[in-house]
Symmetry: C2
Subunit: 153 residues, 2 copies
DNA sequence: GCTGGCGTTGACGTCGACGTCAACGTCTAC
DNA sequence: GTAGACGTTGACGTCGACGTCAACGCCAGC
């Protein structure tokens, strides 16, 4: 299998494959004419890389999985080094999600507050800023909990 | 106030301020010697930019807020354009958080599964792999279209 | 033998928000 | 008058994962 065929089968580009090879991630055998040659095992390596990338793994993070597969294991995550990457990624995801949730809440609060102030400024007088304080206007836009998916169609 | 002083007060660098100016985000008056000159209003603009950046806003996304402040409004989010940015960012955050939560769950599943298989392989026999295979284990690892790995060789 | 489609290497471009020089001007203190 | 701390512009570097282009080689079919 040549590079164009492998790229097509994996739904990627030849440039990407050459990039992976330049990183030592997916080396290729060479035919007599210098053309890169791949086999089914390479396709599986490539699929492993792409799957992890879809999960947000960097190319370097996929390396243990690829090495594991090339070492003959039936799965890329059948090696301790891969599990370590899983665990690190999991912790990283938890951190990021937590931070983003906090940011989401903050932005939601700011939006609600700014909307109220704008609504108060436009029709009425300009400075009801401190004397306003509505009792239950806080739920107008987003409740404290961060679950509003699959909402009212 | 000169550039170094403003940078220090805002906890940033002179390079950053020059960068903002190159984007037209934070233009500076000039003293007779060519030095940039800033005042307290500029400090507030800069603080607005930094605050939004901490929330993950790009510099372009901060522009409506800065313009709003420069237009004389008491707050950067006292203008409709700023509210639009808030809303877009909120929707974007919801999307990203949802995606990351899904990824987190998937990675967690993979980790648990891989840990179990590793524990089963080490002490006992090597190949309980095909006898293992839960009924829906095949689709665990497939975000794109055609995907068949980690099972049924 | 010539066109067209594949392949090859090398090198620069992209996006964002700056970092990091280099080479020079300005101002203050000694 | 000179060191040194500040300022100036210009331009290239960084990080990641490639895209894009150039200039060329290889091979099949007509």
């Amino acid at each position: 299998m040549r590079i164009g065929e492998l790229a097509e089968q994996a739904g990627t580009t030849t440039r990407t494959l050459r990039h992976y090879e330049s990183l030592g991630l997916l080396p290729a055998r060479r035919a007599g004419n210098g053309y890169r040659t791949y086999d089914e095992a390479d396709l599986r390596l490539l699929q492993q890389i792409r799957t992890l990338q879809d999960f947000g793994f960097s190319l370097e993070e996929t390396r243990p999985f690829v090495d594991c597969l090339r070492a003959g294991h039936p799965a890329g995550d059948a090696c301790p080094a891969s599990l370590e990457v899983y665990r690190r990624k999991l912790a990283e995801l938890d951190e990021v999600i937590e931070r983003l949730r906090h940011v989401r809440d903050e932005v939601g609060l700011q939006l609600t507050r700014a909307e109220l102030e704008l609504a108060a400024d436009l029709p009425g007088g300009p400075p009801p800023r401190c004397a306003f304080s509505p009792p239950d206007a806080g739920h107008v836009f987003s409740p404290p909990d961060t679950d509003q998916e699959t909402s009212t169609p």
